[in-house]
């Protein structure tokens, strides 16, 4: 080992930071090189100077005041600790499991509540607009075709009620009668003329004019008007004997 290489190693050698072989080589060189040996002595002196004076003269008062100030800070910190902070601090395995179970329970509950709420709402809508729910409606080819068309509409808007249908639903039989051209004498309620006239009312669609289905209502003529909303159908019955004016009008909302 030459002196140039040794100069690089002396700072580590004096602190005992050289590994086995390098340390032995450095010791060997220093034992026969007075110049490098002198350099090592100077390094050791500076190191000792640093160590001897590196401990600051901090007095007892300094440490007492430091301790007091620290404890005051700690007291303040303890008071500021929130409930959440305590939970985080005391976090452990069982606590994690319980918290996870609670979260799953609440999320699951909310999801079920939402699911059944939507399902119930759908059922109500379908029941309200379903053709089979009308006990006195008879299945005819016309009805079937109409219901197929209606079901397509229902799929598109099951529970939606448009503004127009709301208006039609709010109409009372009397309201119709007042503006109805059937008030005029001689009008044939059982003919398609009635339906074509009613069709002129926006949102109303004549469906059928047919005899009443059962015995008790054999003498009545049943008239249906399908509004633009599939869930609303206007039905009324007209006595065959007295064809002057419709005696009863019912507003059926399915």
């Amino acid at each position: 080992m030459n002196c140039r290489r040794m100069e690089d190693l002396i700072p580590l050698y004096v602190g005992g930071d050289l590994a086995g072989d390098a340390n032995d080589a450095a010791s060997s060189h220093l034992s026969r090189c007075p110049r490098c040996n002198q350099l090592a002595v100077e390094y050791e002196e500076s190191r000792q100077w640093l160590r001897m004076n590196g401990a600051p003269s901090l007095d007892t008062v300094f440490f007492e005041s430091l301790k007091r100030a620290t404890m005051i800070d700690i007291e303040r910190l303890s008071e500021q600790r929130t409930l959440f902070g305590s939970i985080i601090r005391d976090w452990n395995g069982p606590a994690v499991l319980v918290a996870a179970a609670l979260v799953v329970f609440f999320i699951g509950g909310a999801a079920l509540f939402y699911y059944y709420g939507v399902k119930r709402s759908l059922q109500h809508s379908v029941v309200a607009s379903g053709p089979a729910e009308n006990p006195i409606e008879r299945r005819t080819p016309d009805n079937n075709a109409r219901d197929m068309s209606k079901s397509r509409n229902e799929r598109a808007s099951v529970s939606r009620m448009t503004a127009r249908s709301a208006i039609v639903a709010s109409l009372q039989p009397g309201d119709f009668a007042q503006s109805d051209p059937l008030d005029e004498p001689g009008t044939d309620y059982s003919s398609n003329q009635f339906a074509s006239e009613v069709e002129a009312v926006p949102g109303l669609e004549p469906v059928a004019a047919e005899p009443a289905p059962d015995d008790t209502m054999r003498d009545l003529l049943r008239i249906e008007i399908q509004t633009s909303d599939p869930s609303i159908r206007i039905i009324w019955f007209v006595p065959r004997e007295d064809e002057a004016r419709p005696p009863k009008s019912t507003l059926s909302s399915h």
Binding site: P11, Y43, S46, A55, S57, L58, F63, T70, L77, R89
Partner: protein, 216 residues
């Protein structure tokens, strides 16, 4: 950490700990830390009393003045209190605390407007601080010691932050190269390199100081 408790005991205020065996101190310290982790403030106060001198000295060596050392020691205790629940008792508490001190000192040094915490030797000589020391041979020993402290702080100030951290932990705190590497989060080779370059700079500072004194 080899001889850790014995070293610490010598630095603590009370003679009580010095008179007992290392084993007793070790088990007592472990129990005290466990109590502090459970929220016992009195136990934590005991720990502070046990370590505060060492913490303050390290901070002073890192930062170079008493005020910053006080702030750093206080902040270190506070952080230790905050995060004590995270400390794994299987590990070395002293090493954990050293890491906290080093981080606190870094934060404090970073907040300084100049970014540098010490003056260089040249600046010190221009300011006449070393002359004052040379001229104070006849003053009281305590004053001389205090001034030597100041000079050492200045000498440490000529080092880069990483060199200073390495030399303080290795030469002044007496930790092994391996421990220093772990605390600073670096390799032993890097620490050796930093220590070597720090010793060269300290020697250069010391040589110039001695030359200055001889000239007077």
């Amino acid at each position: 950490m080899t001889g850790e408790v014995a070293d610490i005991a010598l630095m603590t205020d009370g003679p009580r700990l010095d008179q007992r065996s290392d084993e007793w101190r070790r088990s007592s310290l472990t129990a005290t830390i466990a109590r502090a982790q459970a929220g016992d403030k009195a136990a934590f106060e005991e720990i502070i009393a046990y370590y505060q001198r060492r913490v303050a000295w390290t901070a002073w060596r890192m930062l170079g003045n008493e005020d910053d050392a006080r702030d750093a020691a206080q902040e270190t205790s506070l952080r230790a209190y905050k995060y004590l629940h995270r400390f794994d008792q299987q590990r070395d508490f002293s090493g954990w605390l050293y890491r906290v001190v080093v981080n606190v000192c870094r934060d404090i040094a970073r907040k300084r407007p100049s970014g540098r915490i010490f003056a260089s030797l040249e600046e010190e000589m221009e300011l006449g601080h070393t002359d004052a020391l040379a001229a104070s041979d006849d003053v009281e020993a305590a004053a001389i010691a205090s001034q030597e402290n100041r000079i050492v702080a200045d000498a440490l100030g000529t080092l880069s932050r990483k060199e200073r951290e390495a030399i303080v932990l290795r030469d002044l705190e007496g930790l092994s190269t391996d421990e220093v590497a772990r605390m600073l989060g670096t390799s032993q080779a890097t620490v050796r390199s930093q220590i070597s370059s720090a010793r060269v700079k300290i020697k250069r500072y010391h040589d110039r100081l001695l030359r200055r004194r001889r000239q007077r």
